[in-house]
């Protein structure tokens, strides 16, 4: 996208100084509206049990699933609750999935004195062949077996299964279905080229400084200092920058103050303080030139449970002075020029990755969209706020761009739905590792990765 337009004047700056160089105005922001109100928590009370989330989730998704089941298996099938099951009768049941995993880290096992177990080290994947699937609804639960992929599914998914109850009390599944893509949103995209830059995992505060030059190059390119005139004019079409989490690196997480004695740590500052200052400076450079949305991530100074609340603006004093800076929640939803964006900083996807046999982040991203829920594992293995009125992670409308941050590498796919939905799925790679960011073209929903690099001692190009 960039290059074709820029190519003609590529070598333009290899010349003696010319007359007053042109300045390009940034494309104005039109039609931005923040839709992430469901993810913003006001008064928080943690006195409720998490069972309410599951109840609300099931109640919220049941109608859609029943409709889906009818359309798939015939409108005359029997929809039963678990308590109404009769042995041998073919029926359809809607419920929440629970996967009993032996390797799942369980706090009860850890503190169990009888076993004298050493706490389990974190594994990349916790799946095992002996895992079992159990379907739960409001009152009962039943074990599932049959034509259902145990390894692939995770706890917390709402699905409809079609089959019959066996003599031994298990449910033999013949077919199952998910909520599928939610209803589509009308398309109001821009008619001219307009870009949104997605980047995640800036990883500031890490010990190694290799990515710092790349970060600076990224900022320079977006603010229009880098590149020849053609490229700068293209960069002027970047309407927005979304930073999807992990602005600080994992190194800033170490908290010596807990482990070491007070007299050793008295004069030391938390590593995140320096990192936040650096982040503030970088954001200031960006904010003076382009609207920026900052989402918190796993290692950022905000709450741990999903939905993560926006970073507090007192941490970013220099950049907060500009109206172009927007601090937003972790699952983030917004309308940009008529295009609906929805995305997370990647915690939900990486959690599903740990508990499912699916390996590809893009595949998992697509699967969450088909399952109709952003983060099914939320209260079980991923921290979550105890919602009780409604589950904001249920997908009610189909976004146009669905992204997740901090993926191992860049992937993108345009998904077409049966009802005319068009979704661009983007896995935004971790910038500190790959020095790659993504540029999404709002006009035609295409995505291009941009890589930045300096040169190191081992001079490779």
């Amino acid at each position: 996208m960039f290059s074709e337009q820029a190519a003609p004047t590529a070598q333009g700056l290899l010349a003696p100084p010319s007359a007053e160089p042109p300045t390009f105005p940034r494309v104005p922001v039109s039609g931005y509206s923040d839709c992430s109100q469901p993810f913003q928590l006001g008064e928080r009370s943690f006195s409720r049990q998490y069972a309410h989330i599951y109840a609300v989730r099931l109640a919220g998704m049941r109608p859609g699933l029943e409709q889906r089941a009818r359309s798939r298996w015939g409108s005359d099938i029997a929809l039963r609750k678990l308590s109404e099951l009769q042995a041998g009768e073919k029926c359809c049941v809607v419920g929440t999935l629970f996967k009993a995993m032996q390797l799942q880290p369980s706090i009860l096992q850890e503190i169990s004195e009888e076993h004298n177990l050493v706490p389990q080290p974190p594994l990349p994947k916790y799946i095992q062949p002996s895992d079992e699937l159990i379907l739960e609804d409001e009152l009962q639960r039943i074990k599932l077996e049959g034509a259902i992929d145990v390894q692939r599914l995770v706890t917390g998914t709402i699905l409809a299964v079609y089959g019959s109850e066996q003599e031994d009390g298990r449910f033999l599944v013949e077919d199952h279905c998910f909520a599928d893509l939610p209803p589509p949103l009308p398309w109001n995209g821009p008619s001219s080229d307009r870009f949104v830059l997605l980047a995640s995992g800036l990883g500031l505060g890490s010990v190694s400084g290799e990515a710092l030059l790349s970060t600076q190059l990224l900022v320079d390119m977006v603010t229009g200092q880098l590149g020849a005139e053609g490229e700068q004019s293209c960069a002027a079409h970047i309407a927005r920058v979304i930073l999807a989490g992990n602005l600080l690196s994992q190194n800033t997480q170490s908290r010596d103050t807990i482990n070491k004695a007070k007299y050793l740590t008295k004069k030391t500052q938390a590593a995140s303080v320096e990192a936040v200052k650096m982040l503030d400076e970088i954001l200031l450079q960006l904010c003076t030139s382009v609207p920026v949305d900052v989402m918190p991530g796993e290692f950022d100074p905000t709450n741990y449970t999903l939905p993560q609340q926006p970073l507090h603006r007192c941490m970013l004093p220099l950049a907060s002075a500009y109206t172009t800076l927007r601090l937003v929640t972790n699952p983030y939803q917004a309308n940009l020029d008529g295009v609906r964006f929805l995305g997370t900083s990647g915690q939900n996807i990486s959690d599903i990755f740990k508990y499912s046999s699916m390996d590809d982040y893009l595949e998992i991203l697509e699967w969450t969209l088909l399952a109709g829920h952003i983060s099914p594992t939320a209260p079980d293995t991923l921290g979550c706020y105890p919602f009780y009125k409604s589950d904001p992670f249920i997908l009610t409308e189909c976004p146009h761009v669905y992204f997740c941050g901090n993926a191992p590498h860049f992937q993108s796919k345009l998904l077409q739905g049966k009802e005319g939905q068009r979704v661009l799925l983007v896995t935004v790679p971790d910038f500190s590792a790959t020095q790659t960011a993504c540029l999404v073209n709002l006009r035609d929903l295409t995505c291009q990765p941009i890589t930045f690099s300096g040169f190191g001692a081992d001079s490779e190009d």
């Binding site: 390009f24 603010t223 609207p291 790659t436 890589t451 930045f452 690099s453 040169f455």
Partner: protein, 375 residues
């Protein structure tokens, strides 16, 4: 020397800086082929990678330039990134140069860029209500004389005495301003000020209270009337910044009287935190002092408060108060909303009884104040 550094240092557009660098390189190379200039270039373009077209932006050394250019399918831009004398091993010096120059110019980092964004306007600072409060504290700490101006806000009847005590009030009022408002705040502020400035600085606030108490008790109609409405004002407008105005009004009155009572202020300051009644008692004690003490203490204050520019005002101002001093009422000034004059008589008697006791205490206080004086 990177293009960004040049751009900021010379104040030119980034593109011009890049062109300047190029021209410099060309010229130097033509002139003196022995010159060892190492140039790095920025190359950007499309690259076919992993099956999809990836846009690559890279900083490369001159020797790698052509190799990278051939790798790219389309070249979007090439320009000089930096020039240096020595061969760079890695790109960290480039980053450091840019980092430093940007840091020194953080507020104008988009000035020389090729893109200007109309939407990027700084927000208006939100804390207008806090301005008076912050204005008050600097006023308190740095500009005691400004309190003199505040005195004008006092009730008209109180004008003559406050104006007389302008100097002292100026010294004390600003500091004492916050005291009746918020004992905690003031205690803290005074605690800060006391070690920071001097014992003298802590005295004015306490003296303020003492003065308030004194006025509450005193049978001076004028001052009383003035102080009484001021005291309720003080008490009511504790948190409002405007209270700062009210307090200097009363405080100047009291301050002038308490001009000589510096030693007690230290002790009284602590007691102020505890209870106002105690403060009243202390103020009683202080008020009991003989005019001589007052005079002497005033002198001490003068010496201690070298920063006060109103020293000449000190001696004349307390004298009128001294005359009014003899009939104080033992009611805590801060708490006494409406002190009837009748209490003065009884208070006077009480005062006299206390006088003897207090004198010894005053001895102690004075000794503590390191200005040993036979009461």
């Amino acid at each position: 020397v990177t293009y960004k550094w040049l751009s900021y240092t010379l104040g030119v557009h980034v593109n011009q800086a890049k062109q300047m660098l190029y021209e410099y390189v060309e010229r130097k190379r033509k002139e003196n082929s022995g010159a060892q200039l190492h140039v790095t270039y920025l190359v950007a373009g499309n690259l076919l990678q992993n099956g999809h077209v990836c846009h690559k932006v890279a900083v490369v050394r001159e020797d790698k330039l052509e190799a990278l250019k051939s790798k790219l399918s389309t070249i979007a831009s090439v320009h000089v990134y930096s020039i240096q004398k020595a061969l760079l091993k890695d790109s960290s010096p480039l980053y450091n140069t840019d980092y430093d120059i940007v840091k020194t110019n953080l507020q104008h980092c988009s000035k020389f860029s090729a893109i200007c964004c109309a939407a990027a306007v700084p927000r208006t600072p939100p804390d207008a209500p806090r301005a008076p409060a912050s204005a008050r504290s600097p006023q308190r700490q740095r500009d005691p004389d400004a309190a003199g101006a505040v005195n004008g806000h006092g009730p008209p009847a109180a004008k003559p005495p406050p104006q007389q005590h302008k100097g002292i009030m100026g010294m004390f009022a600003a500091k004492a301003a916050a005291k009746p408002q918020d004992t905690h705040k003031e205690a803290k502020a005074e605690a800060k000020e006391a070690p920071g400035v001097s014992a003298a600085s802590s005295k004015p606030p306490t003296k303020n209270n003492i003065m308030n108490n004194f006025f509450g008790k005193a049978a001076m109609n004028k001052l009383k009337v003035n102080s009484v409405p001021e005291q309720p004002k003080e008490e009511k407008e504790v948190v409002k910044p405007s209270a700062a105005v009210a307090e200097p009004d009363s405080s100047p009155n009291t301050v002038a009287e308490k001009a000589g009572k510096k030693t007690e202020s230290a002790r009284i300051q602590q007691k102020d935190k505890k209870s106002k009644t105690k403060r009243a008692d202390r103020s009683d004690d202080e008020e009991e002092r003989d005019p001589e003490n007052v005079k002497k203490k005033r002198k001490r204050i003068k010496q201690l408060q070298s920063d006060s520019s109103d020293e000449e005002d000190v001696p004349p101002s307390p004298t009128p108060e001294e005359e009014r001093a003899p009939s104080p009422a033992p009611v805590p000034a801060l708490k006494a909303e409406l002190e009837p004059a009748s209490t003065e008589g009884s208070a006077g008697g009480r005062k006299r009884k206390r006088k003897r006791v207090l004198k010894s205490k005053m001895f102690i206080d004075e000794e503590e104040g390191c200005m040993g004086k036979t009461g």
